[in-house]
């Protein structure tokens, strides 16, 4: 995902000199090509996230399109009030790029995990939230964010995420994507953890159970229509996110479904429930340890389908 971001921001900067890449001393080396080719559009603001966000807002007020990039919790939580006051209240055209979605920086521990960023930012008016599922989607999201006038937060992982799209597709902010068709149950997910859901769908297909998988790449504004339409037809729904279930995707989906009168379904939110991510090790090991692996999803499905 990180390479996809760098490639996208490189192309954008190449075509539009108002596009700027801001960092707060994070990922400096991976920006080498960008720095070499567009030194005037690159700005390392130092280890000061609040200042970076304020500076980005000031730049945007003069017509620049700053992409402010750093590790998600430092951006979304440490600089939260700057995002709120300088970007959202003032409706400044700043793009925030948070890296290390969920606990992809597994071994670095919970200070570096992004497990509350969506809850925090989802409460803010004016901002659009995108959590792409794959490298291709990162690229499309970055291009869409640059074309969109207004604040956008894009939550990306690091490198090594699987590509889930076999073909090109039209990305539209606010529109959920059906990645797998099925009528027996639905998994609504966001971000790279979709690969666990796809693995579940593959193994259940052998048992003639068909799982609909929906990728909600835009958490705000969320695709109400697709969610409601799904809940009208499918009565077992799981939301899956590498994030707290409190205020994240699970909450957002529950809000939409309940308020639109969709009831009578079995509904389960999978994510971190009132806990920080436990353990270190590899990313996939942490998914297992924290109850978010394909096996955990399968066990939950079994329980839901039996009861």
């Amino acid at each position: 995902m990180r390479n996809a971001y760098l490639s996208a921001i490189y192309d954008l900067a190449n075509h539009n000199s108002n596009v700027l890449a801001l960092i707060s001393d994070n990922g400096a080396i991976v920006y080498d090509k960008f720095r070499k080719d567009f030194p005037l559009q690159f700005l390392n603001c130092g280890i000061s996230e609040a200042n970076m966000v304020g500076v980005a807002a000031g730049l945007a007020s003069t017509g620049k399109i700053p992409f402010a990039y750093t590790i998600s919790p430092f951006l979304s939580l440490r600089a939260f009030e700057f995002i709120r006051n300088d970007i959202c209240i003032q409706q400044q055209n700043v793009k925030l790029v948070g890296t290390g979605a969920g606990f992809v920086y597994s071994a670095l521990g919970p200070t570096h995990h992004a497990t509350e960023d969506v809850s925090a930012l989802r409460s803010l008016p004016e901002i659009t939230l995108i959590t792409p599922a794959s490298p291709l989607e990162v690229k499309k999201a970055i291009i869409a964010a640059a074309e969109f006038l207004g604040p956008v937060y894009i939550r990306i992982g690091t490198n090594g995420e699987e590509e889930i799209y076999k073909h090109d597709y039209p990305f539209k902010i606010g529109r959920g994507e059906i990645i797998n068709e099925g009528n027996d149950l639905a998994i609504i997910t966001t971000g790279s953890i979709i690969t666990e859901a796809l693995s579940v769908a593959r193994s259940l297909r052998e048992k003639n159970i068909h799982v609909k998988i929906i990728n909600i790449h835009t958490l705000k504004p969320i695709d109400n229509e697709l969610l409601i339409d799904t809940a009208k037809k499918i009565k077992v729904i799981i939301t899956l996110e590498e994030h707290s279930i409190h205020g994240g995707l699970g909450s957002a989906v529950a809000e939409v479904l309940l308020e639109s009168g969709c009831t009578g379904m079995k509904f389960l939110r999978m994510g971190l429930d009132n806990t920080f991510c436990k353990g270190y090790g590899k990313h996939h090991e942490l998914r297992s340890l924290n109850g978010l692996s394909a096996n955990h999803i399968l066990a939950n499905i079994q329980r839901l389908l039996m009861n």
């Binding site: 609040a50 200042n51 966000v53 980005a56 000031g58 017509g63 700057f82 006051n85 300088d86 209240i89």
Partner: protein
């Protein structure tokens, strides 16, 4: 805009204080102390030929910008903007009313001439730095002025911004600190003292000028001095509540509504009558 002479400027600062009192009474109280300490600073900037602006075209690309980082002095900014022609004076007296464009803290996009939504302290300097950086990048001619409170400098983000401004050598930015030595509850010295305040900023890489913040002509002279090789910071020594005897240097007047007896004294000291001039 046409530069005014000293008498004109003194008259303007007196009228600003009167309007601030009128607005405070309309709103049922406001941050009078910190507004009065900065009256001469804003008079110099807006009416002393310092800031290049056009109230009829408030969004001109190359306009100079003034950012009120100490947003609680909004009442002063509104009085100034109205006098500068951004909106009619009558609107001042909607201050803090239900559907007013003039809130307790200024909000960008709501009112012409307001360049930033401020109120939470420690934001304006980074925002101003971004605007100044954009001018430096594109070689545009405008200048950015940002006014901070001295108490505001207890916010860590101010110093993050200070490091950044020095590093980028933003010469199209002038930082002004309204150094009235008081914060909401007490003197800074009794809460978090600033110590060698000017020296701190010099150590951060600024060219620091100290000036009497109530001497309009001295302020103008400092603002219009030839550019130095470092970012410029003006430490304006002021008196909180300046102009009203019982408000000066009194933390109580950080935020307060004058009572009837106090209004009588204010009317006398500012030589006007609320009854006839409203």
């Amino acid at each position: 805009m046409k530069t005014k002479n000293k008498d004109d400027l003194l008259k303007i600062s007196l009228e600003l204080r009167r309007d601030i009192i009128r607005m405070a009474i309309c709103a049922g109280g406001c941050h009078i102390g910190g507004a009065f300490s900065a009256v001469e600073i804003l008079t110099a900037i807006y009416f002393g030929g310092v800031l290049d602006y056009d109230p009829l075209n408030p969004l001109l690309e190359n306009r100079d910008r003034f950012i009120l980082s100490k947003g609680h002095a909004s009442v002063l900014l509104y009085a100034v903007l109205s006098k500068a022609g951004f909106f009619p004076r009558e609107e001042l007296f909607t201050f803090c009313q239900l559907t007013s464009r003039l809130g307790g803290h200024p909000k960008k996009n709501d009112l012409p001439g307001v360049e930033a939504s401020t109120g939470s302290l420690g934001h304006g300097l980074s925002f101003a730095a971004g605007i100044a950086l954009s001018a430096q990048m594109d070689r545009r001619p405008y200048h950015v002025y940002v006014l901070l409170g001295d108490g505001e400098c207890q916010e860590g983000s101010v110093w993050e911004a200070g490091l950044f401004i020095a590093q980028k050598n933003l010469l199209q930015l002038t930082v002004i600190i309204d150094h009235n030595k008081l914060q909401a509850m007490d003197r800074l010295d009794n809460i978090i003292e600033m110590g060698e305040f000017a020296e701190k900023w010099r150590a951060f890489g600024f060219e620091v000028y100290e000036v009497d913040g109530h001497d309009i002509m001295a302020l103008i002279k400092t603002f219009t001095a030839p550019a130095s090789k470092k970012p410029r910071l003006i430490l304006a020594h002021t008196t909180k509540g300046k102009g009203i005897s019982f408000m000066e240097n009194m933390p109580l007047w950080h935020y307060r509504n004058p009572n009837l007896d106090e209004i009588k004294i204010i009317e006398k000291e500012l030589s006007f009558s609320l009854a006839t001039l409203l």
